[in-house]
């Protein structure tokens, strides 16, 4: 469908300058290397394929996280969300997790969602930390407002980062946000934020070439190293 740019400009939110996230590579517990990079807008249709199955998983709040993430990605894709970004984690090109967030304004970030394969590899922890790294270190923001759907997941972040309670309603449903300040980030960085830069070119090339959305069997074989059962 042809886009009428005159009308588009009415509906697109104004954006503030947004620096890119420099990719990094993390060695996971199983020795595999996860490239963490910023997804490109045109990769959203692939990401939606990965999120789609979660819409029907009721346990652990997967369905609401998936549904909200799906709509946020679509919002980003169609230029209807202000300053959104998405970081993906890939092992040999296979998508193992994604996080998304946006800049509420130049100084404040609004953390949105984290979705990761849960196999004890702490992919979610690594990607959440990368998201905070981007807000504070590369986007130059002073604070990030955070909530979560899962109380268990959230309590873990609250304790790990020492998040401060606020009475600012988060845009995800209005619950009071918790805040990660620049000071808190740097106080916890050494034990929560890791990664090597630059990413070796051959690894980056594989990651950037294609986001492979893997099914459970492929994840077991390629990521867990577990053959057939």
């Amino acid at each position: 469908m042809a886009v009428d740019m005159e009308l588009e400009l009415v509906l697109r939110p104004p954006e503030v300058p947004q620096a890119p996230y420099p990719a990094k590579v993390i060695t996971l517990a199983n020795g595999k290397r996860m490239v963490v990079r910023e997804a490109r807008r045109e990769e959203v249709p692939t990401l939606l394929k990965a999120v789609h199955p979660t819409l029907f998983i009721h346990k652990d709040y997967y369905d609401i996280v998936g549904a909200r993430l799906y709509s946020e990605l679509l919002g980003w894709y169609t230029h209807r969300t202000q300053n959104e970004f998405c970081l993906v984690g890939q092992v040999d090109g296979i998508l193992v997790g994604m996080v998304n967030s946006r800049m509420y304004n130049a100084k404040t970030g609004m953390s949105l969602h984290t979705l990761a394969i849960d196999r004890g590899l702490r992919v979610g922890s690594h990607l959440f930390a990368a998201k905070m790294e981007h807000h504070i270190e590369y986007l130059g923001q002073d604070e990030v407002l955070i909530v979560a759907e899962s109380p268990i997941g959230f309590r873990r972040w609250m304790i790990e980062y020492g998040l401060e309670p606020t009475d600012i309603p988060h845009e995800l449903g209005g619950a009071p946000s918790y805040r990660l300040t620049r000071e808190l980030y740097f106080a916890t960085k050494s034990r929560l934020v890791v990664g090597d830069r630059p990413v070796p070119p051959e690894l980056l090339e594989v990651a950037e070439r294609e986001i492979i959305v893997a099914d459970e069997d492929l994840i077991r074989e390629k990521i867990a190293g577990v053959k057939g059962r």
Partner: protein, 397 residues
């Protein structure tokens, strides 16, 4: 006293089992064991059920009575056995004594736990209820905490290193990846959990100097076995009977602070000595062992205290490959608690189920100890204040 044999075994995959209740899991494992023993359409004389947390986590007590009803095993005698993480071996012990005494002929022993229904913090609190209620529990001390205290002392005394602990984790997770019943299916590397600077996130400190990968997961699961007098085994089943050659049980002080030497797991040593005496065997006679590696340090410490290695040598033995499949004494070929998982009440039974499969030579090549004839298990209750050791022998020809 009659010789007692294990003639049937059953287990369900350990892990997160949201759809199953505690009694569901016990029932499934029990049916596998009953069928395996040729008793699928018959009764048994007595049932012992090992479970630590039903009353706390599921708000359900008298689990054995529930299971007997669920399995239509009425009017069998039934007891629930609670001995913390050693509930499983305690229940088996009770079953063995019941058969050995001549009082009962066929006995079902099942053990299970449903721990993932609650958050990790509540599961940690539940396990901590085994600590001393006045002088330990109020301080927030946890089982990992006690293991951390023990590990530091062991490092100071014997020069144990993190590499040794990591080697146990890597070995056991590699074996768990081959075990269809195992909770954890993930190969890990020393680089990922120790050497890389990224290991600070991959493998954070849990109870220093122990880290995340030094601990077993929190699991749901159940296992079961059938006991009968050895002389009756052949009329009931074609399975190779596995003789309970001996067992031992010993206790130590409730609190860590009152141990004379907190690095000395006296109860493990005594329980093993009793078992060896009963079985008329010595440590070098054992072909395969299932030790209680709720924490990697415990596999190493128990391997020394039962007599496989001298004190302080267990860690070096792991590094030298002596405890892997094909080594001098394969330990935790099932993946151990580390990878198979640790549904606390079920573990002691699961260890004996795994040893039975080993001694029957029923496992696939990549998990079978060649020609295994004798097996040993250690089920470690509390923090080493109530320990059972079993020795099994392959029966028949």
């Amino acid at each position: 006293m009659r010789d007692v044999a294990i003639i049937g075994v059953g287990m369900i995959p350990f892990g997160r089992r949201d759809e199953d209740t505690l009694v569901d899991m016990l029932a499934y494992a029990s049916m596998h064991a009953l069928d395996d023993a040729g008793l699928g359409d018959k009764g048994v004389d007595a049932v012992y059920v090992a479970n630590m947390g039903g009353g706390i986590l599921q708000h359900q007590t008298a689990v054995a009575s529930a299971l007997v009803d669920r399995l239509s095993l009425l009017p069998a005698a039934a007891d629930t056995v609670e001995n913390g993480p050693a509930s499983g071996a305690s229940a088996v012990k009770n079953g063995v004594l019941a058969v050995a005494s001549g009082y009962y002929d066929t006995v079902l022993v099942a053990g299970g736990e449903k721990m993932r229904e609650v958050t990790g913090w509540k599961a940690t609190d539940f396990v901590a209820t085994l600590t001393h209620p006045e002088v330990e529990y109020p301080y927030g001390v946890t089982l990992p905490g006690m293991a951390g205290i023990f590990t530091r002392l062991y490092m100071e005394k014997y020069g144990l290193t993190r590499e040794m602990l990591v080697a146990v984790a890597i070995k056991n997770q590699a074996m768990g990846a081959l075990n269809p019943y195992a909770h954890v299916e993930m190969l890990i590397t020393q680089e990922g959990i120790l050497d890389s600077p990224h290991s600070v996130v991959n493998n954070p400190a849990m109870a220093d100097p122990l880290h995340l990968y030094d601990a077993c997961p929190v699991s749901d699961g159940a296992a079961a076995l059938i006991l009968c007098p050895l002389e009756m085994a052949q009329e009931l089943t074609k399975n190779v009977p596995i003789l309970v050659a001996g067992f031992g049980q010993a206790t130590d002080t409730h609190t860590l602070q009152e141990r004379e030497d907190p690095t000395d797991l006296k109860a493990v040593t005594l329980a093993a000595q009793q078992a060896f005496k009963r079985a008329n065997l010595k440590p070098s006679d054992i072909d395969v062992a299932e030790l209680h590696d709720a924490f990697t340090i415990l596999e190493i410490a128990e391997s020394e205290h039962v007599g496989f290695f001298k004190k302080g040598e267990g860690g070096k033995a792991v590094l030298a490959g002596k405890t892997k499949l094909g080594g001098q004494i394969p330990i935790n070929v099932s993946g151990g608690l580390k990878a198979r998982g640790h549904p606390v009440g079920g573990t002691g039974v699961a260890q004996l189920v795994d040893l039975t499969w080993q001694l029957r030579h029923e496992l696939p090549k990549e998990r079978q100890v060649k020609n295994a004839k004798t097996g040993l298990s250690v089920n470690f209750g509390g923090f080493g204040n109530n320990v059972l050791c079993f020795i099994l022998k392959r029966g028949g020809k």
